[in-house]
Amino acid sequence: MSAAPQASAEPLLRVEALRTWFPIHAGLLQRVVGWVRAVDGVDLAVPAGGTLALVGESGCGKTTVGHSILRLVEPQEGAVVFDGVDLMSLSPAAMRAYRQQIQVVFQDPMASLDPRMRVRDIVAEGMQSFGIGTGTADRTRRVGELFERVQLDPDQIWRYPHEFSGGQRQRIGIARALAVEPRLVICDEAVSALDVSIQAQILNLLRDLQRELGLAYLFITHDLGVVRYLADEVAVMYLGQIVERGETEAVFQRPAHPYTRGLLAAVPSVDPERRSPPPQVLGDVPSPADPPPGCRFHTRCPEVFARCRAEAPPLFRVSEGAARCFLADPEAGSPQGRAGP
């Protein structure tokens, strides 16, 4: 069903057939009347020291993928294999040891730092939790070093979060994640809430940190510019499923899925010669509680034909990746039997 994994060594993180559904309760007895299929069979792989970008519209389930990997929400099914160990099979106590190796940077730098704590305590919290550092003074020294690493003034570690700007707070959030020396950092829309100029600074910082510390990133975003700048590989998500994945440049140059093409066409250009064409993907994402039959994208696809409405396409291999679209089916050859749009 899915494309063969990369021929190279075992990736640091491999997500297989991840399914995270949220129950919908209703009525007097709060019976389950349906499921929100936030994540519905997702496969991902993040190589050690590499960056995978997970791209999609709001509500496509990309944040839930991140939360499921961290087990902040419990998935129904699937495997999250980190460094050869399936995290889903671990007890909460056993999971704790792996939490040190997978950290997260959140989108909103206002909500991700406890307003009642000094930033020193915020950054040191993980060290305390995992017993890193020999004591209070040592941890304080480490917090100072982390502040230098994320290009903040180490003299400011005793301040409160509200005394920092948005970009500075995001650096504090990164310092908190780095404090426990993780191998994988999940960046959940980590730059989306920032000004463009600050975004660039944070992205550069993340890239430098990756080079220095050998971090792997799972970069969850809706911003394709960020993807191209940072990611080695990209996975495009739509309604809880991966619709296309591949090496970043290949996907940007030769998108195989109509949804990816629509996303790329929607990126505004600064070049007046390349004015944005009219949008190709119209309307809103259908409810993940009631996904359309057949191909989930057929309700909005500009290239829809009869088969799409009846049959759900698997992930077909394309040159450097995979796409969940009958048009990419190598055995079908040229798309025959296509109905008009």
Binding site: D114, M117, E125
Partner: protein
């Protein structure tokens, strides 16, 4: 243990707690700023509350001896507070009007003419003295009840909000059930069952007043639980208990303080209502007001008793409410000045 010894221990504890809180506030910039702002906005109300508290403390520190055995031999062997000692030898025989030289009915000469700014009551006790003594009762009711109600409300509200599921259902069922029983009815029933004492009145008030705060803390915890910094703490492997203590509770504290201050005045008022029904606490302003019912039907009427106790009650409640409203403005996150 003698009651006055317990009372003295409480005074020491209250003072120690006061110093502890002051030390904490001095080190914590956020609370320091909040209290400075409060002082800037409501200096008079704070001074008024402080005066009430000071009077209550004066009436709480008590010891034996040092009293000349006068006409009342029994009284000479009771522990006397600082306040009692200040008003020693002001006893008259019956009613006298403020600053009067003679008794109100009959016109017999007073033992201490012109020395009773609020007159004397039916037993000849100085009304100013009784009114000041009421401050201790009022603060005791408000304080002790809050000590019972707030931990209960926090424990149930926060754990229901944080852990959810069956626990949440159970707590919410309890809250809804309690909220659907008329408060006064439940109060009277509880006091009837437990017997009438200061402590049982406080327990009864505590049982009926935790519901509001519990609801508020449950809702706020539901919100905080989903915030990114709580998720970050979970991703960092921080234990549930530690998350509750370090992240949830500190971010609820402003609500607890606002609710405490506003609840406080409600509790003092509730006691006055209970006294009116004859099941209040001895020596409270409510009891003085209750006694004044008969005095108001006399001719000529005795008006100074209800005026003094009513004014004292009104003054405390007004000041506390002023402080509470200002605190709400200052501490409410939606109006926090330091939010960009």
């Amino acid at each position: 243990m003698e009651p006055h010894v317990i009372s003295n221990v409480v005074v020491v504890l209250v003072l120690l707690a006061g110093f502890g809180i002051a030390a904490f506030v001095r080190r914590n910039r956020m609370w320091n700023d909040a209290l400075r702002e409060l002082w800037r906005r409501r200096p008079v109300a704070i001074v008024v509350v402080a005066i009430y508290a000071g009077v209550a403390l004066l009436d709480s520190a008590a010891w034996m001896g040092g009293v000349e055995s006068g006409e009342d031999v029994v009284a000479a062997h009771e522990a006397k507070s600082v306040l009692d000692r200040l008003f020693l030898g002001t006893q008259e025989k019956s009613y006298s009007a403020p600053f009067a030289d003679a008794e109100f009915y009959g016109g017999a000469d007073l033992a201490h003419p012109g020395s009773h700014p609020f007159g004397t009551d039916i037993l000849g006790r100085d009304v100013l003295y009784l009114t000041l003594k009421g401050a201790r009762v009022a603060l005791l009711i408000g304080g002790l009840t809050s000590l019972i109600a707030i931990p209960l409300a926090l424990l149930l509200g926060v754990s229901a909000g944080y852990f959810g599921g069956r626990l949440d259902d159970a707590v919410f069922f309890l809250i809804s059930t309690l909220a659907s029983i008329p408060g006064l009815l439940l109060l009277i029933a509880l006091i009837m069952v437990m017997g009438q004492s200061t402590f049982s009145v406080c327990i009864a008030l505590g049982v009926t007043s935790w519901v509001g705060l519990s609801r508020v803390t449950r809702g706020e915890t539901l919100k905080l639980r989903e915030l990114d910094y709580v998720k970050a703490a979970r991703a960092l492997g921080v234990s549930q208990l530690r998350i509750l203590v370090r992240h949830i509770l500190p971010n609820l504290m402003h609500l607890v303080i606002i609710t405490f201050v506003l609840m406080f005045s409600g509790l003092v008022l509730s006691e006055a209502i209970l006294s009116w029904l004859g099941i209040g606490v001895d020596g409270s302003w409510g009891q003085m007001i209750d006694q004044a019912r008969d005095e108001l039907t006399r001719s000529p009427i005795i008006w100074w008793n209800i005026l003094a106790s009513g004014t004292a009650l009104f003054g405390l409640l007004l000041a506390v409410n002023f402080v509470g409203d200002a605190l709400r403005d200052i501490l409410d996150p939606r109006t926090l000045r330091d939010q960009p």
